[in-house]
Amino acid sequence: MYQLIIIGGGPGGISAGIYAARKKIKTLLIAEEFGGQSAVSDDVQNWIGDQSISGFDLAKKMEAHLKAHKKDIEIVEGDRVVTIKKIKEGRYRVSTQKGEKYETENILLVSGSRRRRLDVPGGEEFDGKGVAYCATCDAPLFKDKAVAVIGGGNSALEAVLDLLTYASKVYLIHRGEKLKGDAVTQDEIRKSEKVEIIFDSEVREIFGNKFVTGLEYKDVKTDKIKKLKLGGVFVEIGSLPNSDMVKDLVKLGKWGEVVVNHKTMQSSDSGIWAAGDVSDVLYKQNNISAGDSIKAVLNIYDKITGQSRK
């Protein structure tokens, strides 16, 4: 029986783990991997204390910091929490993919978010067969091919940049009439003759044989249906919070984000806290996830020790 189970291994989970260990809260941390989503970033320039560090190195550093406290915290790595059952007030049973079960008085959910998938005909069928979710990884496979990037935020713009080195043509298909990503990146993209931006358009279908050969989209202003011949489609349409395991226990927002009291990070259930991208935080940032998770642990510590703060 634990006093606290922390679910997640991103900056939030790691920060929470360090604080919980130092407070000697009897804690178990369960993480599939360490480092969170920014582990894929080439260069992180806003993690306080590091002017420039690769996401991978940052993840390693954070993991080492947590593990330096391993005598005061139990860690399960390489497993994923699938269900949480509330047995009674102040007692929860957490079950994992590998079939392990753990009981705890309190839970801190820092499970982050996952990429939103392209939910149109052909989207799943051609996943990995031309439909791709990591331009940094897979761009070289699309050398001299025409490709499309779907989205309009920073991730979409960065995907366009990654692809410019290899692809012969890059279409950027955006639902809105204005791009949302950083102005600097927008300028960079507009400079390239290879890029064509298609506004106000929704993808309706991905088609192909063994691999993607093209897509169909609708211009929402004119209702016209158009087709593009393509060798690849990169999807960058945002993310969804990993909150399935608490969906019957706590109040969720429109997109499935856990609604919390932002002073304490406590959810609508008095034994469950959430922080980082799985919560209804406005800004999805490593530093914020770390800070908010620490807030949660301090509040959990107050609860355990019977202190109340105004």
């Binding site: 990995g128 897979d138 761009a139």
Partner: protein, 77 residues
């Protein structure tokens, strides 16, 4: 057991996979497909996918780094 891993230079899961094999003291051959066109074609043919990393573990083909699946493949191999 022969493990061949097809990678690109900026792919995080390729790095995670390399780290995984190293900590387990398992040797592997890494092929950077951006430097070897023939290897790229070979990889796509083997996996029928256009994504890295691809693992060829004694003929078992796995796409993407999934700790559980890799562990299982290593046990069989």
């Amino acid at each position: 057991m022969i493990i061949k891993m097809y990678t690109t230079p900026f792919c995080k899961y390729c790095k995670v996979a390399k780290e995984f094999f190293k900590t387990k003291n398992i040797s592997f051959i890494e092929v950077d497909i951006t430097k070897d066109n023939k290897a790229m074609k070979e990889m796509v043919k083997k996996s029928m996918q256009m994504a890295v990393p691809v693992f060829d573990i004694d003929g078992q083909i796995l796409v993407g780094f999934n700790r559980g699946k890799i562990e299982k493949a290593l046990k069989v191999a």
